[in-house]
Assembly symmetry: C2
Homo-oligomer: 344 residues x 2
C-alpha cells in the first residue's frame, strides 16, 4: 500500500453541522459544492441529510444533478450559478432551484421552465454574483410575482468580524429585501458567527461543517496519513530534492513519503510545512515533488512506517498557513490518489 | 453548461513525445504518473503507446494496475516507489516492474515474488528516492545476480543546464553503474535536453510530453475555456471579492466566470493572473474563490460568452508563473469539475 490514507470522519462532520445549527434560530442548510469541499459529496450530503439538513447548495447544475441522485427526491437543492445556457434540462430533470443572478438568467428561466422553482441572488457589495440594486429594483415586482423560494446574498468579509463591510452589506441586503414575504439568507459559516442580525431565515454553513476556520470550535474532519517509502542518513552539507534548495546542517535522518502536489498537497507549503509522527513534529525539507515529500525525522527515536499531514496535531488551517492559503483550498485540493475511508 | 471545458490535444501530446524521442538514440519511455499528469492516464497512455512508447513509468503500484488495464499486456510498466508493503499482489497480478529503492525493498521483492522482474533506482545525490552508493555497493552483486531490467537515477537540477549538480550526478551515476550490462536511465525531459552524455539507454520524458518547460518547443496540450456567468458595471471605488482586496480605479466592466480553486486553479494566482478573450488579455481581479473568478473586461469591445485560461495565448508555464509555481502543478491540479474533451 503505497498511497496515502485519507480518513473522513462523518461523525465529526455531522457534529459540526449540528453545532452551527444550534447557533441560530434559522433553518440551517449545507453547502456541498466542489464535491462536498473535496471530501465526496455523496457520503457528505447523506450524513448531513440524516443530521437534519433539508436544503443544500451547490455551485453548478451538474453538481446539483449528482447531488439529487445521492439524496433522492425531497431536499431542496439550490444552484449558486443560477440558470446558465445549457442548464435547463438538468434543472428540470433533477428538480434544482437555480439562484438567478441577473435579468438575463431570469428571462431564460421563465421562458424555458415557466412555473419551475427558483431563487434570487442579490449583490450586496461583493461584486461577484447576484443582481445589482438597480437591476433588482427594475425586476423585483416581476420576480416576486413568480414566487421565489429564497432570496440570498453573500458576505465578502465575514471572516473578519470587525470589518465595516459586514454592516454595510447587511444594510444593503435589508434595503433590497425590505417588506418581502420570502425566506431570506445572508450567512454562511462566518455570517452565523457574526450573530443573530445576520441569520435571517436560512443559514448556509460550508467551511465550518468541514472543520475549518472561522468556526474555531470545529472538530477536525479529515485525517491524512502518508506511508514512508524510504529512510536515509545524510552527512552535513548534503542537499535534498529539486534545485538543491535544502542542505543538511547536521547528520540528518530523512524520510521520503509517498505523496506530493500530484495528490493536492500544495507545492508552496514546502519551506514551512511539517508532518507528525506519533505526535512529534518533523519538518518538511526540500521541495515538494509531484509524488514525494522529504521529511527530517532526525529527532524521532524510531523509524516511522507513516506520518500524518492532517489530523489532531495539524488541521486544514495549519497546513493552509504553511502553504500561504486557506483551509478551503487544502480541502478541495485533496487528490484522487489518496485511498478514501469514511468513518461514522 | 456552467462548467469549464478542458480540451486535451492528444495529437500535440504524441507530437511532443515524438520530438523528444528524436532527440536521442535511446529508447524513449513515457512518464504517466499522477493520472497522466492530471490529464487522464487511460487516453494519454494509449496515444503514447500508439506513438511508439513501450515503457511507462508511474509513481505507485495502484497507478500501475490502472495503467495495465488501459494498455493490456506487453508494455513494461515501471513503478518509481518500488515494492512497498502491501504492493505484492498488484505487482504480480499486473506484471509491474518495481524500481527497488533500498535493501528493504530488495529483500521484500525477492522473498515475495522470486523471479519477478524488477529494476533498481539509485540515488546519485538528490537524496529523495533510490539506493545510496554504500547501500548499492553492498547489494550490487546480489541484485545483479537477479537480473534487473533497468537501473536508473534522477537528476535534481536538470532544468538548470549550467547547474554543477548535473555533472556531479552524472559522474556518481557512472561510477555506480560502471561495467554493468544492464539498461541504464538517467534523463527525464530536462536530462534529454542536457545532451547525449545524459541519455544512456532509456529516457523518461514527462513534463515535455505534456507541453511544459523546459521543453521550449513543446506544443500546448491543454486548453481551458471557462463560461461567463454574469457581467456587471462597477463605479470607481467599488470593491470586488473576498476581503475587498481589489477596488475599481475607473468605470469597470467585470465578468464573473465559472471556475475557481475548487477546479484546481491555484488560489495564489489571483493577483497576477490573466485570461484571454479572442486573444485579448483580461486581468483577474480580486481573490480567486472556490467556484468563481472575477475578470476585468473593460477593454474588450464585446461581452464574451467564455474566456480562455489555458491555450495558445497562455500555456501552463505562464499560468504557473502567475501562481508562483511550476507547470507540473498547474497540470496535476486540473479539477474533476471540468468537462474533459479529448481531440486527436
Amino acid at each position: 500500500m503505497s498511497t496515502a490514507d485519507l480518513t473522513i470522519d462523518l461523525g465529526a462532520l455531522a457534529q459540526n453541522w449540528r453545532a452551527l445549527d444550534a447557533m441560530s434560530r434559522a433553518e440551517t442548510g449545507a453547502v456541498v459544492k466542489a464535491n462536498g469541499y473535496g471530501l465526496g459529496v455523496e457520503r457528505v450530503a447523506k450524513v448531513l441529510a440524516q443530521a437534519g439538513a433539508r436544503r443544500f447548495f451547490v455551485a453548478v447544475a451538474e453538481e446539483g444533478a449528482a447531488l439529487r441522485q445521492a439524496l433522492g427526491p425531497g431536499p431542496e437543492i439550490n444552484v449558486f450559478s443560477g440558470h446558465m445556457e445549457g442548464d435547463t434540462a438538468l434543472i428540470r430533470d433533477h428538480a434544482l432551484v437555480p439562484m438567478l443572478n441577473s435579468i438575463d438568467q431570469m428571462l431564460r428561466h421563465v421562458e424555458a421552465l415557466p412555473g419551475h422553482a427558483f431563487g434570487v441572488q442579490l449583490d450586496s457589495g461583493m461584486n461577484r454574483l447576484g443582481m445589482e440594486p438597480a437591476e433588482w429594483a427594475a425586476l423585483r415586482d416581476i420576480a416576486l410575482g413568480q414566487g421565489p423560494r429564497l432570496i440570498m446574498s453573500h458576505l465578502a468579509c465575514a471572516d473578519e468580524p470587525d470589518h465595516p463591510m459586514n454592516a454595510q452589506q447587511l444594510r444593503v441586503f435589508k434595503e433590497m429585501t425590505a417588506d418581502l414575504d420570502v425566506p431570506l439568507s445572508l450567512a454562511s459559516t462566518g455570517g452565523i458567527l457574526l450573530g443573530p442580525a445576520y441569520h435571517f431565515d436560512v443559514t448556509r454553513p460550508g467551511i465550518g461543517v468541514y472543520g475549518g476556520r472561522p468556526f474555531a470550535e470545529a472538530r477536525p474532519v479529515v485525517h491524512l496519513d502518508v506511508p514512508v517509502i524510504q529512510i536515509r542518513e545524510l552527512e552535513p552539507g548534503e542537499t535534498v530534492g529539486y534545485g538543491n534548495t535544502w542542505g543538511a546542517q547536521r547528520r540528518t535522518r530523512l524520510a521520503t513519503i509517498a505523496a506530493g502536489y500530484g495528490d493536492g498537497l500544495i507545492r508552496a507549503m514546502g519551506p514551512r510545512a511539517q508532518v507528525f509522527a506519533d505526535g512529534r513534529r518533523c519538518p518538511v525539507v526540500g521541495r515538494v515533488s509531484m509524488d514525494l515529500i522529504t521529511v527530517d525525522i532526525t529527532d524521532l527515536d524510531h523509524d516511522p512506517a507513516d506520518v500524518q499531514l492532517l489530523g489532531a496535531d495539524q488541521g486544514v488551517d495549519d497546513l493552509a498557513d504553511a502553504a500561504g492559503t486557506i483551509g478551503y483550498e487544502i480541502l478541495t485540493s485533496l487528490g484522487a490518489r489518496h485511498a478514501r475511508r469514511f468513518i461514522e
